[in-house]
Symmetry: C2
Subunit: 193 residues, 2 copies
């Protein structure tokens, strides 16, 4: 119920003073999402900029054949929002769904923009979140292109082990760009080693 994590998150960015972090946190409202429910669904315009305090979420899109492809996983302590839809005010191509019961703090597009206008520090914070997301995606793109499925699996296991406690393997498989069958075999092969 407390906004401690949220204001600490702002402050830890080193872009926002402690007092401003608290002021900022004051503007956020609570959001509770039950397991399997959605923060955002396809064709809607994303209007929530969410700090995830508890629980796990995933983003997914559909490919041409209509299969769900998991595009991202989110753990507590992260900002979640669909960048393109949120900033361009266009219909989202992605869905964001709770993998577990979730709690967090959000503001709307309008509120965010007002804060951006009035607080240069928060603007910097917003930019750094955007840049961080971009960099992570770039890293993932490179690893998808250069590494084998087994290597990508091992990396995920090392960097985000909690995901395996909260997401079904079929979601992890599409995130890694392989079928659940292949993932199962990779796991079997690695556990023998």
């Amino acid at each position: 119920m407390s906004k401690e994590h949220l204001s600490a998150f702002f402050h830890n960015s080193n872009l926002v003073s402690l007092s401003m972090a608290k002021e900022l946190a004051d503007r956020f409202e609570q959001k509770v999402i039950a397991k399997n429910h959605f923060l955002l669904t396809e064709d809607k315009i994303a209007d929530e900029y969410l700090f995830l305090d508890k629980g796990y979420m995933r983003a997914f899109a559909f490919d041409i054949e209509g299969n769900e492809i998991t595009t991202n996983f989110y753990a507590p302590g992260q900002i979640i929002f669909e960048v393109a839809s949120f900033f361009n005010r266009t219909r989202s191509k992605e869905n964001i769904q709770a993998l577990t019961d979730c709690e967090g703090w959000f503001i709307t597009y309008k509120q965010l923009n007002d804060l951006f206008h009035s607080l240069p520090e928060f603007r910097e914070f917003g930019r750094s979140m955007l840049v961080k997301g971009f960099s992570e995606l770039k890293t993932r793109m490179l690893s998808t292109i250069t590494e084998t499925a087994e290597e990508r699996y091992a990396t995920l296991l090392k960097t985000k082990p909690e995901i395996f406690q909260h997401a079904p393997l079929k979601n992890i498989a599409t995130y890694l760009g392989i079928t659940d069958t292949s993932l199962s075999r990779i796991r079997a092969a690695l556990s023998k080693k």
Copy 2:
């Protein structure tokens, strides 16, 4: 030699008035890069925010085995900068190289930030560039995960045909995430159809 393209580019974003577009363009300086020379090399801190007016460029990184992996192609009329290095002031993991003789217009990090502070419209423009890059990368990530190499090749051929006139196939192969051998076979197979 004229900054027409540059100011038109600002104005066409619909975020910047015509007069401000011209004022903005005034702040940019000319940059000429000969074929095969670099806009940015690994381990340097990116300090140039470049509008490419003429010519083609590519970005590349090295994988674990030391192979060059092309991460992006740039055509005239695009903004080019290495996002993470530029905004975080960290050493770049990427190189940006001219595929042909190039000409463009640039400002430095400091100049860009000054403009961002004083001109909200330019800030919006900057954000929209960032969001655009992010969205494109997301689309590419999804297609890399869900489509076959042949489908990705066909898409690239349709969306960026000029690249094939200016980049060697081995660069295009690593961009698509395949070997030059496979790319050659895909081209052979498609030309038979």
